[in-house]
């Protein structure tokens, strides 16, 4: 039940896009067609599910104050938390490299469609944001952290696929000139956020 609640919270209530506006750059850039949005969304889910447990372990066994006490009592007051950003980014960057190689091997077409945004997942704020929220929330077990990563990824995935479908539908709408493209995407995101407020305070 606890895990279900963590999942629902991270996917729908604290949605990366609609609640925090994280990962907006790739969200706006690849949401022109459902197909590419689907591909990037899956990549983000994968990266989040892999990096958050790793970062959880690093956080709890290396970085946190007293986390190194398993090495011996003389390390029990070492506090490496100033290394948080560098360590998290390193983990994320290497995972993204892995994803890039896999995607290139499995689906060259998707690789071409995603273009520069695939390596840019490394600096996608949703990924680092997920890791930092994980640190802040102080999950009790690695299972909870993984579910949190999965939920955040699914939330981002849903958001990007939904807006891609909407943008496909309004492709032939007579939108006022200055708003065409990204401007409209921002407005739609706001309206979708209004609808998604319905999930606020949701708990099972």
């Amino acid at each position: 039940m606890d895990l279900v609640n963590i999942f629902i919270r991270s996917a729908f209530v604290d949605n990366m896009i609609f609640a925090f506006f994280f990962g907006m750059c790739s969200y706006l850039a690849v949401s022109k067609t459902v197909k590419t949005a689907f591909g990037l969304g899956m990549a983000v889910i994968f990266v989040l599910v892999v990096t958050i447990p790793i970062n959880y372990l690093i956080e709890n066994y290396v970085l946190k104050e007293g986390a190194l006490s398993w090495l011996g009592s003389e390390f029990s007051d070492v506090n490496l938390s100033y290394l948080t950003f560098i360590m998290f980014i390193a983990v994320i960057a290497s995972t993204v490299q892995l994803v890039e190689m896999i995607v290139e091997k499995i689906s060259p077409a998707l690789y071409g469609a995603l273009g520069i945004f695939l390596p840019l997942i490394a600096v996608n704020c949703a990924i680092l944001g997920g890791a930092l929220f994980m640190q802040e929330k102080q999950f009790a077990t690695i299972g909870q952290a993984t579910v949190y990563g999965l939920g955040s990824g699914v939330g981002w995935f849903i958001a990007v696929v939904l807006i891609a479908a909407i943008r496909e539908r309004i492709r032939y709408a007579n939108i006022p000139g200055p708003l065409r493209g990204v401007g409209m995407a921002f407005l739609i995101t706001g309206l979708m956020g209004l609808a998604f407020l319905g999930f606020m305070g949701f708990e099972i």
Binding site: V34, V161, L162, A165, I166, E168, R169, I170, A173, N174, I175, P176, L179, M184, L187, I188, G190, L191, M192, L194, A195, F196, L197, G198, F199, M200, G201, F202, E203, I204
Partner: protein, 412 residues
């Protein structure tokens, strides 16, 4: 008729004679086409001959809304005198008058604000006025609480028409239902005026000050006469989720808001949404004329019924134990199902998609209402969420059709 025709012809002529006034053409055109069938004729060949254009469609929806409006006027007055405990002293017409004085200004303000925006956009963009607002302008007052300040209705209407519709290119392009956008905007921008237990019965907060001041004591901290709180039925129901619910148990709830009252609509709530019976009459008109989709309405109902039954089955607290059918008669469920979810623009466009879309809306509506005590009026948000999902549902349906046909092609 001749007389009216002459006025319009005269106005057209005058406007067209001057370069400067030419751009105000849509203004006259809108009223002209409202009164007469548009006289645009196709140049080549004849296509389908049918008098039903967008304006007639909209008019039919408004006709379907009239039972809800009339009942809303009566119920607004009825609730007011019920709280005052004067139901025995006032006549039918006094009740109607009281309700009309509250409801009609809402309608006027909503139409005024919305049509003002529509006219500005029509003149700016140089097209004729689009008729889409005719229905939204009627839906907005019907889904507002009786005591909402008029300026808020105006602001919300303008927000919904500009951000919800005009930026997408006008009628037929929007992704969210305009009336619900207005309501959701107010709900989150001014929650104190859109929820809680003081806004649903007109004049309730004033009454509380004057009439109940003498009744306040330790056993009756709110100073309320038995059985007359200002909350909606769903608001009372949601209080089961709190530590100290308003009513002791579900039986007390069912005694206070009987199934019959909920069906007929003699319960507090938004102006036009309370009566399931009037919504069903509206649904009958819409289905008979073929304007609303029976797929959306039926699957919406089934979705809500299944969710409510699941919660019945799970049980747990008084909140979940209310019989499913009673649950569906409360709040905005019927109104949303008949008039909001069926909006042909924001619903899914494919036939299979309509089933999925309706089911999703009904299912989520009851889920949000029940699982989230902060939003007892969850139908509004559920339909908005379903609106957001509709393009994706359509995409999936079309994609699966394409894939199926490709497969057939390969095997053949």
């Amino acid at each position: 008729m001749e007389f009216l025709r002459k006025i319009f012809d005269n106005a057209h002529e005058k406007l067209n004679s001057n370069e400067k006034t030419k751009k105000f053409f849509p203004l006259i055109d809108a009223f002209d086409t409202l009164m007469f069938t548009p006289n645009h004729v196709t140049n080549k060949g004849s296509h389908i001959r049918d008098a039903i254009d967008l304006k007639r469609t909209m008019m039919l929806v408004i006709i379907a809304l009239i039972p809800c409006l009339l009942f809303g006027i009566y119920n607004t007055g009825y609730q007011h005198f019920r709280v005052l405990d004067q139901l025995g002293d006032v006549s039918f017409w006094e009740i109607i008058l009281k309700g009309a004085l509250v409801v009609l200004p809402l309608v006027v303000v909503s139409y005024g604000a919305g049509l003002l925006v529509e006219f500005i956009f029509a003149i700016r963009n140089g097209h004729t006025v689009q008729e889409g607002f005719l229905v939204s302008g009627m839906l907005i007052p019907l889904c507002m609480p009786a005591d909402v300040p008029l300026w808020m209705v105006a602001v919300a209407t303008m927000f919904a028409v500009v951000i919800g519709k005009e930026v997408f290119g006008g009628t037929g392009m929007n992704i969210l239902n305009v009336a619900l956008t207005a309501r959701a905007f107010l709900f989150f921008a001014h929650p104190t005026k859109m929820s809680g237990n003081e806004v649903w019965v007109t004049g309730f907060s004033d009454l509380k000050g004057e009439k109940y001041a003498s009744l306040i004591n330790s056993s009756n901290p709110q100073g309320i006469v038995d059985g007359s709180s200002g909350a909606t039925a769903l608001g009372d129901l949601a209080s089961f989720m709190q530590d100290s619910p308003v009513l002791e148990n579900t039986q007390a709830f069912q005694a206070k808001y009987s199934l019959m009252d909920s069906f007929l609509g003699f319960i507090p709530g938004s102006v036009g949404e309370t009566s399931a019976l009037m919504c069903l009459i509206g649904a009958g008109i819409l289905l008979w004329t073929g304007i609303a989709s029976w797929r959306v309405i039926s699957s919406f109902f089934i979705g809500g019924f299944i969710m409510a039954s699941i919660l019945n089955f799970v049980g747990g607290n008084g909140y979940f134990e209310l019989p499913a059918i009673h649950q569906l008669m409360l709040g905005g469920f019927m109104f949303g199902m008949v008039f909001m979810a069926t909006d042909p623009v924001t619903a899914a466009h494919t036939n299979t998609g309509k089933f999925i879309y309706g089911f999703l809306g009904g299912f989520l509506g009851i889920l949000i209402r029940m699982v989230n005590p902060a939003y007892p009026e969850g139908i509004m948000l559920a339909i908005l969420i379903a609106n957001v999902f509709a393009p994706l549902i359509d995409h999936m349906v079309i994609q699966s059709n394409i894939n199926r046909r490709l497969k057939r092609l390969k095997t053949a």
